[in-house]
């Protein structure tokens, strides 16, 4: 009888909805969106009575983003998500799911503009403030401004009269980063920066696992042949050999099952090609990564990029990409993968890692490696020449070089300097396993806006 009631209780629990759960969603910068551009989505989840442990699922065209959500009873949480799609619809579909079913559903309408439509977003300090509405495509309250530079991608211009008050440090940093990116884009420096390509990983079992697998099977076949040799030399009984065969085969199965669960085999290997672009006049850098993760065992994994403002996109069968965020808002590649399973993904993040310090004094530029990374293959931008004698290409931690503009007739373009590091500036993490990064990171630093335009003048 107890079992019956236990089963009945479980069944009842699975069909009773979370009581008092509400979902409010608002999408777009001032309600505006464009195809292929990041679009912000603000979602407020609240629960009056029950605790919530679920997943927020947002679908917009061919894009899908999920975020784990945990909420204590009688609390609310506002989350900011970003989506981009090449097939934008008039509304984003937002669902809060728990135990495989929808708890509450909402839609967030957006006005989809054409790619060539010019968008001027005006910022009002508060609801009572007035702005010149004729020049504005949309008006946004300061407190509602995005917390990521991605949130501004739809805008061509942002008008904010008066003092920039009423926004958080996070919002301010996002706005500065966006303005810096816009300036780099307008100057052509961004377009002249080499982009990341997909890392090349040979087919077959991963290099980290192949020797272990080969070793296990070599030991297996050796043990069997040794047993056979003993049997043939009439030093062993058939029953002994039969038992040995069973033990050897079971041992080989145990060794295979242990791969990825013990010792160094537990590590997740990530092959990456990364670009770190230091944004001038800010404290931030844009990290762009393309990677392939190799998983060591048949298990559930959650590979995290430790950057709160970031995204990781994995190719999906439904469309070009889908993204996932964990409960803390960090982008993750999550799922059940097989032993030696591979998952390719691409990511972007705004990070506070700045290995190179640029001191631009007009005619001369001082570049210092302030990181603990050994930077190699350093190349100065077009029009710049190092003022040191001898070969230049490596910047040790703490090392600095001076460079000066070589000529006035050549317009500079692209980064001031690019260097390559063999260490990842922001290594991925996994809750239960170590992560080993393979690949290289190109670090690009640019001139600040006031200095831009000096050369050639």
């Amino acid at each position: 009888m107890k079992t019956f009631f236990a089963i009945a209780g479980l069944v009842a629990a699975s069909i009773v909805p979370v009581r008092g759960a509400t979902l409010d969603a608002a999408a777009g910068l001032g309600g505006l969106a464009k195809a292929g551009r990041w679009t912000p989505l603000s979602v407020t989840v609240a629960s009056d009575r029950d605790a919530i442990a679920g997943e927020l699922v947002v679908v917009w065209g061919d894009a899908r983003v999920t975020r784990d959500v945990t909420l204590a009873p009688a609390t609310r949480k506002t989350l900011e998500l970003y989506l981009r799609t090449t097939e934008p619809r008039g509304a984003l579909d937002v669902r809060l799911r728990s135990a495989g079913r929808d708890v509450v559903v909402a839609t967030a309408p957006v006005r989809v503009l054409g790619a060539d439509d010019r968008v001027t977003v005006c910022v009002a300090a508060d609801a009572a403030s007035s702005v010149d509405s004729a020049a504005c495509t949309a008006t946004v309250l300061a407190r509602s401004l995005p917390r990521s530079p991605r949130g501004y991608e739809v805008a061509d211009d942002l008008v904010w009269p008066g003092t920039h008050a009423g926004i958080t440090t996070e919002q301010d940093a996002a706005l500065r980063a966006w303005r810096s990116l816009e300036a780099l884009d307008a100057s052509g420096d961004l377009g002249a920066t080499p982009q990341v390509s997909r890392p090349l990983v040979p087919r077959g079992l991963p290099a980290a696992l192949a020797p272990i697998v080969a070793g296990v099977f070599l030991a297996y076949v050796s043990a069997l042949l040794l047993g056979a040799a003993v049997l043939r030399s009439r030093r062993a009984r058939l029953s002994w050999m039969g038992a040995s065969f069973a033990v050897i085969t079971a041992g080989a199965c145990a060794a295979i099952a242990a791969i990825g669960h013990v010792g160094a085999t537990r590590a997740v290997h990530v092959h990456h090609v990364t670009l770190l672009q230091q944004l001038p006049d800010t404290q931030a850098s844009v990290l762009t990564v393309r990677a392939i993760a190799e998983f060591p065992a048949f298990d559930r994994f959650s590979l995290r990029l430790p950057a709160a403002d970031g995204t990781l996109e994995t190719p999906s069968a439904r469309g070009p990409a889908s993204g996932a965020l964990d409960a803390d808002g960090f982008p993750v590649v999550t799922g059940v993968f097989g032993l030696a399973g591979r998952q390719s993904f691409a990511g972007e993040a705004l990070v506070d890692v700045r290995p190179l310090a640029i001191d631009d004094r007009g005619a001369t530029v001082t570049i210092e490696n302030r990181s603990s990374l050994l930077l190699r293959d350093c190349r100065l931008g077009r029009g710049l020449a190092a003022s040191i004698s001898g070969p230049f290409g490596t910047l040790a931690p703490g090392a600095r070089i001076e460079a000066s503009w070589a000529g006035a007739d050549e317009a500079p373009g692209g980064p001031l300097i690019t260097c390559v590091s063999d260490e990842a500036p922001l290594p991925f993490t996994e809750a239960d396993r170590p992560v080993v990064m393979h690949g290289e990171t190109t670090i690009a630093a640019y001139r600040g806006a006031p200095a831009r335009g000096y050369a050639g003048e």
């Binding site: 087919r203 077959g204 079992l205 192949a210 697998v213 080969a214 296990v216 099977f217 297996y220 076949v221 069997l224 042949l225 056979a228 049997l231 043939r232 009439r234 058939l238 050999m241 065969f245 085969t249 080989a252 199965c253 060794a255 295979i256 099952a257 791969i259 990825g260 065992a297 048949f298 059940v336 993968f337 097989g338 032993l339 030696a340 399973g341 591979r342």
Partner: protein, 218 residues
């Protein structure tokens, strides 16, 4: 003849077979070949609409064993020729059917061991495929059923065709026909097991009529 005597006969046949190099060569080649397969194509054969790694691996295992099981049985020494049965019956005072039954029993154990030797490799393929453990048995049970049927088929071929190569060729051909004819998965395993029982029954029942005397070539 008592069951104990039959067991002794089968045990001796098995011991003789286990001491020949054929079984161990076949097992070693199987493990080396399938290991190499997994090392090179462990992430799946790059085919359009490719099936999971475990299914691809099981198909490779299936084809390999279709060739290797009859060869191992024919070379093991436990698949007796007609004249060997007749001599054993006369000298050992046993029924030919008992000798045939002992031979088939020894071959069955031998070939099951041969098929079971691939289990760790199949386990690796299952781990790579990220499929439930049940799928491992769904792909391995037909292989064990194949070894059940390959034993009486090869024993019959050795009794009919005294030449080992010819007997292996004929047994491989018959085994392949059965492999193609039966459905895939557990249903196929059941059909193969039923065919194995039928083949053993036919072989043993007819042995006392056919194998009392030496052939004219002897």
């Amino acid at each position: 003849m008592s069951d104990r005597a039959l067991a002794t006969l089968a045990w001796r046949a098995l011991l003789g077979a286990a001491r020949t190099p054929a079984l161990w060569i076949a097992m070693g080649v199987q493990i080396a070949f399938l290991s190499l397969y997994l090392l090179v194509w462990g992430d799946g054969l790059p085919l359009v609409g490719a099936r999971p790694v475990l299914e691809q691996f099981a198909t490779t295992q299936w084809i390999f064993l279709g060739l290797a099981l009859p060869w191992t049985a024919a070379r093991s020494g436990a698949a007796w020729r007609r004249d060997e049965i007749a001599q054993l019956a006369a000298l050992g005072a046993v029924l030919p059917s008992s000798a045939v039954a002992a031979s088939v029993a020894a071959l069955t154990v031998l070939l099951l061991a041969m098929a079971a030797a691939g289990l760790p490799l199949a386990l690796l393929a299952q781990q790579i495929s990220a499929v439930p453990a049940m799928d491992l048995w769904r792909t391995q049970l037909p292989l064990y059923a194949l070894s059940l049927v390959a034993a009486p088929v090869t024993a019959a071929c050795m009794l009919v065709v005294a030449n080992r190569v010819m007997a292996w060729t004929a047994a491989s051909a018959i085994t392949f026909i059965m492999m193609i004819a039966v459905p895939q998965g557990l249903a196929g395993a059941a059909v193969l097991a039923a065919l194995a029982v039928a083949a053993v029954a036919l072989l043993v029942n007819g042995a006392d009529r056919r194998f009392w005397y030496l052939s004219e070539q002897a």
